[in-house]
């Protein structure tokens, strides 16, 4: 197959290497929006999605204040590998980084709900440690977002569904989030990562295989294979709902003072159990 834009042999989608990189970066830039003069905190895990996000954020906003923030969940034999990658690339791209560890390693608190516990704590630490920056940029790709949308529907998680692109309640302690890979698939991100010659351990999180997300991912990808464009349509349908958040009152957690709708926030419930 030939590249749709220039006629050279295609390597991914309908593009050759050069044209794919151009397409990918253009989509990313669109997802970032205008961040001139803003201070940017990029959430990184050291995996391909977040490293790509970090690299391109710096490429498009080289003069902005940028911090790479890594939350270490404490998963033995998994996270340490990608921390090494982060350190290597942060040095190469001249970006300062900060690593925050879970107060209790996930390996000790996982129970049967490792992924949801991890999700709550990660969101909590990211919001807390990115404070002071204008925006938090995360590496969620199209697959992550489409999966989360379906999971919230299947499980009827109404409030999680509503807060997928912004917090339910506007609060000065909630940092604004941007997901520039939201319209780019995991496969496209991996292709970009490979074509740029980047490298990082590609292990799967040891908890991923036992999660509900994994079930949804496999089903959704089988569907995508038969009906290309489905994942993007899920995101577009969600966005067209125009869910608006409220500016109602939000109290703070009695233990940590972080914003919370209950007396004790979700994170403290987990950490103090």
């Amino acid at each position: 197959m030939k590249c749709e834009s220039c006629g050279k042999p295609a390597v991914v989608n309908k593009y050759c290497k050069t044209c794919f990189i151009k397409y990918f970066e253009k989509e990313f830039k669109k997802g970032l929006g205008n961040l001139k003069g803003k201070s940017l905190c990029v959430a990184v895990s050291g995996g391909k999605d977040s490293l790509t996000t970090l690299y391109l954020t710096k490429k498009f906003y080289p003069k902005n204040k940028i911090l790479a923030l890594l939350i270490d969940e404490g998963i033995k034999g998994y996270r340490p590998h990608t921390i090494k990658s982060l350190k290597k690339y942060a040095k190469e791209w001249d970006i300062p980084y900060k690593i925050v560890k879970f107060e209790k390693p996930l390996d000790d608190i996982k129970g049967s709900r490792a992924c949801s516990v991890c999700g709550v704590l990660r969101r909590y630490y990211l919001n807390k440690h990115a404070r002071g920056f204008d925006v938090l940029i995360t590496g969620h790709n199209l697959d992550d977002e489409a999966q989360a949308t379906l999971m919230n529907v299947f499980m009827r998680y109404a409030s999680r569904f509503k807060r997928m692109t912004m917090p339910l309640v506007t609060h000065k302690l909630f940092i604004k989030r941007i997901k520039p890979l939201r319209h780019l698939s995991e496969r496209e991100v991996m292709a970009y990562f490979i074509l740029k010659g980047f490298d990082t351990p590609m292990d799967e999180c040891p908890y991923a295989r036992s999660s509900f997300r994994d079930v949804v991912r496999t089903a959704l990808n089988e569907f995508e294979c038969k009906h290309p464009g489905s994942k993007l349509n899920i995101i577009k349908a969600y966005d067209s709902l125009n869910i608006s958040n409220s500016t109602g009152h939000l109290s703070s957690c009695i233990y940590c003072n972080e914003p919370s709708s209950n007396e004790v926030c979700q994170a403290c419930k987990i950490l103090r159990n």
Partner: protein, 62 residues
């Protein structure tokens, strides 16, 4: 051909497109990329059987 990147190295007698190879191995093309002789290969690329092939699962956590 020798196929690397899966759980174990695989010797497989195959001629046809990259897409057909993935289908023959029962792998979803949405979840995999294929490197042929060190370069990312399009699904439509034809394989003659003597290439060095590496299959990459694009799904990775976190």
């Amino acid at each position: 051909m020798i196929i690397k990147g899966l759980d174990k190295e695989l010797e497989f007698d195959f001629r046809g497109s990259v897409l057909a190879l993935l289908k023959a191995l029962k792998l979803n093309p949405v979840e995999h990329l294929v490197i042929v002789n060190g370069e990312l290969a399009h699904e439509s690329k034809h394989l003659c059987g003597n290439e060095e092939v590496k299959i990459i699962r694009v799904v990775s956590g976190g």
